[in-house]
Symmetry: C2
Subunit: 407 residues, 2 copies
């Protein structure tokens, strides 16, 4: 597997475009479109929130009922959630605009929205955007990057990842882009993530590969504990790599699963590290847990703790809050047996052992906690299972961004 | 039932004192003691965190094994959690100091601590504090109030409540004090709360009354989702009101339960409204739910949502976040059927109906959301059950307080 630059247009036959449709933002691109030259089998996972946005309902139906999809239209600024029948009509009209300008059937057009809940979309701007982008679609690194920029809301960085690997002597590419900064606490998937590949694979195995990877990637991040109404991960595979179609869980399938995991993990970490107001990516790795499920619950409890997140912002080695967050996670363990470490590129120190603080150097701890990527390593001393979760620090800017998001 | 001023010394035969022992704070009272003139039957509920502070372990044993208790010694500044065997020894030595100076048996002395986790207590200062307070114990409103001030940490206000009611023609009093501002997400009880009464009642019924009231009071508040290692509610009943001892669930027991609920609810709301950095008490009332459990889960999900809390701080009628928080609570409902209202002393407006926003006046919503106590009313339209939860807004000051709490 080779890591390459690029995103959603890295794989063969995937085109993208972006435009400034003025949906809510006035001075930036806010619509993106991804198109496959040929029909692509499509897998998707969606929010578990009872309140589901119109595009989530729209996409779920297509992923469940259609063999293939060819286009995805995304807008930022307005989430098209809690918009009633009108919201569903917008999905329909968007798809009709794609059919009109690109001759792609309505039922092969996926939609995704992100932004304010409860506001209605300006339909004319959306259809204008589709028409404009239809003329500008390109299979280039630049067009993919522009699409990655156009889908952002409070994100500060675009988020792309891509890899290549070999199947049957053919080079297969997977590339993806995502957005997500606030209301990030995915359950079954995360905000918006779009992954494309030119691999030839059956729809069943594509869905299975995605479904089995989500629990270790998108579902292991949290910015604020709020599971969005719009969470969507779409994975399109158009077969243009020319490999023999994967239809069983052979060695080639495993190669794909591994490469997909890399792309999804990278995109997930980018979202966590760019959480609203964040100054640091906050990783918690739990090792030697008795079960995988317990490792996950413990790791997520730490990265979700507001007090721990605020301490990370303050570069404060307040390990008591970490122990507290492990303690209320709902998993039983012996607090006297476990060990805690802080890690970053600046080094590693042990903080807690035998039920009390080690005699660690506070200045050294502060130095480690001042890096842009900080890891808490928790050794449960109970078994062989492990899990990693990703979050970010809690800062003044998180409050600032969210105290008056709508204005 | 009559609401009166006063706190932990309101009931007959309860004395209190406070002192500045210099445990961690340099310029304020940081120790308090409550003493009953006669042995009091005692009930308690404690944190469900796997990591439990030494005083929690100490008190649990006394409440479970002893018939009565007479004293409670409390310190602020250091939590005596994650302090190993040394931490337990401090509880023992504190109780021995009480025995020495007040001739109260070690096994009738309860202890409670709040503050930084993982730091060891300065034992000599603690025993000095006990000796000093033993000389100053008084049955007065002032001594109770000083105790309520001495137990605070990041709290900005002392928290007391008291009521009287009649049993057998005798006046019975219940009074209490509590502290709690951060790491507040009680499960089975909250930070530290001490309630005293002169009612004569059996230990079994006292424990039952407390246990059945906790789920509707302390367990319905949250400041930051972090369940503390030290959560403790102690309820002492010394029988000095002179009523015939309550030994069955008769009319008198019901009177007591009602009065206790008032005291616990009042103390709980005071904690939520004084959450770290808070500018407002944020109440969510869920009505017409199908089950009580669902009503509670939904109400707590809203007051725990960081995004909603930040919006309350910004006086921003961002109802989409409320709907989102209801949606991920884990309870099934029809988002198109429910209705949302904002309420405060300034009025009430309906915000959401039939799956979309109502045509509400934004200025009116902002006015309501600018009050010091703000309520979201959620009508589930499913049944007859209801629940109320209390939290606070999420502010810059929460981050400030917690980014460098230890310094």
């Amino acid at each position: 597997m080779e890591i390459i630059t690029g995103g959603v247009t890295a794989a063969k036959g995937f085109l993208a475009a972006a435009t400034a449709a003025g949906i809510k933002y006035k001075d930036r691109m806010d619509m993106a479109m991804i198109v496959s030259e040929v029909p692509a089998v499509t897998a998707g996972t969606f929010t578990t929130n009872v309140v589901q946005a119109a595009p989530v309902k729209w996409d779920k139906k297509i992923v469940a009922e259609e063999d293939c999809a060819r286009a995805v239209v995304i807008n930022a600024g307005i989430a098209n959630a809690c918009t009633g029948a009108e919201g569903m009509e917008y999905c329909q009209k968007t798809a009709e605009a794609v059919e009109k300008h690109l001759q792609i059937p309505v039922k092969q057009v996926l939609t995704a929205s992100t932004g304010v809940i409860g506001m209605q979309l300006p339909m004319e701007k959306l259809t204008w955007g589709v028409e404009t982008m239809a003329k500008e679609l390109a299979h280039s690194k630049e067009s993919g990057h522009q699409a990655a920029c156009a889908i952002l809301t409070t994100d500060t960085k675009s988020k792309e990842a891509a890899v290549t690997f070999e199947v049957d002597g053919k080079t297969v590419t997977i590339g993806g882009m995502c957005k997500g900064s606030g209301m990030i606490h995915p359950n079954m998937c995360t905000m918006l993530s779009f992954v494309t590949t030119d691999l030839a694979i059956s729809k069943e195995l594509l869905q299975e590969a995605l479904k089995s990877d989500i629990p270790d990637t998108y579902n292991m991040i949290s910015v604020d504990g709020d599971t969005s109404t719009n969470d969507t991960v779409l994975l399109l595979a158009n077969g243009m790599a020319g490999n023999q179609k994967i239809t069983k869980k052979d060695e080639n399938y495993q190669k794909f699963v591994k490469a997909l995991n890399y792309v999804n993990t990278t995109l997930s970490k980018k979202m966590a590290g760019d959480g609203e107001g964040a100054t640091a990516l906050f990783e918690t790795k739990v090792i030697h847990a008795d079960t995988k499920e317990h490792a996950k619950i413990l790791a997520k409890s730490v990265i979700c703790s507001s007090l721990t997140k605020a301490a990370i912002y303050g570069h404060d080695a307040n390990w008591g809050r970490i122990l507290c967050a492990l303690g209320y996670a709902g998993v039983n363990f012996d607090p006297e047996a476990i060990e805690l470490f802080f890690q970053s590129k600046s080094g590693q120190i042990q903080i807690y052992k035998n039920g009390v603080a080690t005699d660690y150097n506070e200045a050294e701890a502060t130095k480690i906690l001042s890096d842009e990527e900080v890891t808490v390593l928790v050794d449960m001393k109970m078994g062989e299972k492990e899990a990693t979760a990703w979050g970010c620090d809690l800062t003044y800017d998180y409050v600032k961004i969210n105290a008056d998001y709508r204005s």
